[in-house]
């Protein structure tokens, strides 16, 4: 699903965020990406989303070499990827329902299909009863679940998460991780960046470890799931 081939990213100013990173994530795999803050986790996710382009090396996502994608094709790539952010990036001027509906609207689903899918996604994260509420009235954990519902509502084959449990207490964090496992069990590839080592080491999944932009875990190792 994701292949990095000797990927380096050097930002203007000379800081090398990633150097010579190679790894492969199979279809249906759930992988944790960990490392100290500033190790390059966010940069790695941004390369998959084409929010940044690599300085060297190649990134393949779902069979596409991202090097060949023009700027106008980036939206099409992003529609195939569900993303969950640490600060969930919800829009506070509209209801929970409208937040989750946004990717479907962008992909051009009809209003009736949107209603069905949004309710299914909200049901999955346990927030069906809150669809008419504004995000500001929800707790931090609930807001994060709305963010997850928005990420999966389009049924992407790849789900990325950047510190999805960063602001949550351990119980809520475990709950969120369980949600990701459930999506993974129905065939979604999941890559979760997290520095919550205590939590992710309890879960039996492959861990990619970054230190100062370099990979310190062999990438070819099989993940257990």
């Amino acid at each position: 699903m994701i292949t990095f081939d000797r990927v380096s990213k050097r930002y203007p100013g000379g800081h090398e965020a990633l150097s010579e990173v190679s790894f492969n994530i199979d279809n249906d795999e759930l992988v944790f990406l960990t490392g100290h803050s500033g190790a390059g986790k966010s940069t790695l996710l941004k390369l998959i989303m084409l929010m940044e382009r690599p300085s060297r090396g190649q990134v393949m996502v779902n069979g596409q070499n991202l090097k060949n994608l023009r700027a106008s094709q980036i939206p099409q790539l992003r529609r195939q990827i569900g993303v969950v952010f640490q600060n969930h990036q919800l829009l506070f001027d509209r209801s929970v329902y409208d937040n989750v509906a946004l990717p479907l609207l962008i992909s051009g689903y009809s209003v009736r299909d949107i209603g069905r899918r949004v309710r299914a996604a909200l049901d999955k994260v346990g927030l069906l009863s809150r669809e008419k509420d504004m995000p500001i009235t929800l707790s931090g954990g609930e807001q994060q679940r709305v963010g997850i519902a928005r990420a999966v509502v389009n049924k992407p084959r790849l789900l990325l998460a950047d510190e999805p449990t960063g602001n949550l207490d351990p119980a809520l964090s475990a709950e969120i991780m369980t949600l990701f496992e459930q999506f993974n069990q129905v065939g979604v590839s999941v890559l979760i960046a997290s520095h919550d080592l205590a939590l992710i080491s309890r879960m039996q999944h492959r861990i990619i470890n970054l230190r100062n932009g370099k990979l310190i875990t062999p990438g070819g190792q099989a993940g257990g799931s």
């Binding site: 249906d28 989303m49 929010m51 106008s72 939206p75 099409q76 790539l77 992003r78 529609r79 195939q80 993303v83 990036q89 919800l90 829009l91 001027d93 946004l102 990717p103 609207l105 962008i106 992909s107 051009g108 689903y109 009809s110 209003v111 899918r117 299914a120 996604a121 049901d123 999955k124 519902a149 928005r150 999966v152 509502v153 389009n154 049924k155 992407p156 084959r157 459930q182 999506f183 129905v186 065939g187 979604v188």
Partner: protein
Amino acid sequence: MVGGASQSRARLSDQLRAWLQHHRLSAGDSLRRLMRNPLASVLTWLVIGIALALPVGLSVALDNIRAVSGGWENPAQISLFLRTEMSLGAAQQLQQRLNEHDDIAATRLVSREEALAEFKQLSGFGDVLRNLDDNPLPNLILVTPRHAELGSGQAESLQQELEQQAGVQRAVLDMAWLQRLNALMQLSQRLITVLGAILALGVLLVIGNTIRLAIENRRDEIVVVKLVGGSDAFVRRPFLYTGLWYGLGGAVLSWLTVSLALWGLRAPLSTLAVLYQSDFSLQGLNAGAGFSLIVLGALLGLLGAWLAVARHLSAIQPR
């Protein structure tokens, strides 16, 4: 079930429907946003409306002046100065012959005595003229041509023909004042066009700046939409509709403003017309011109929004 393995995409055949759906949603949503902030929106509409009303109103006024001056069908007059040796009787015969000419609507003979008396009265040189032994003025026939539209050259050719007549010293075509009026109206037309262009540019900048602020206010939303795969066109659309609503609303307001102003002028103008025994009535903005105004306003709104969007939207990227 959410999270199924199959990647779902809207079918290609649904793309047109989806496109129309987003246009509808964007149009409605941007209008609702304007209504949610009525004071700011109305102020913007007023600025646009007044800026458009000024050239439109002046243009309507000019059209009315043109209608009035167009009512003078035979504005030109040809003065035939007859040879001094020609007697009054011969002059009267010439006048009768001219009256039968197809291209002549009317003639008036001014004898040299009448001319002298008139000149004495009007010029103030009465005493000087009284000392003259002889009357220096010739007999004069004033000829009104039947066809004398400006630029047609018919009055000019009649003038040349009359100058060839026996006994005619000189034929003078007096169209200068009409040409001056015409030039003045062309100048006014040009001034209104220039003024209109400047004000249209102002409208463009007002709308552009308003849209720029709207983009700034919705920066977070734009970032999120781009992150979840919104295309540039998708992001652009609501702002273009916002510009369109500003332009349309402004144009409607300017139509109202001009109509109100004309309505206010109608009564005093008709009083004036009665005093001049004219059947003149004020012409307002007709439906065609009003429609053009609306279309122009919509285009200005769209263009202003487009300029702002092209300038500011690409700068907002998820980081």
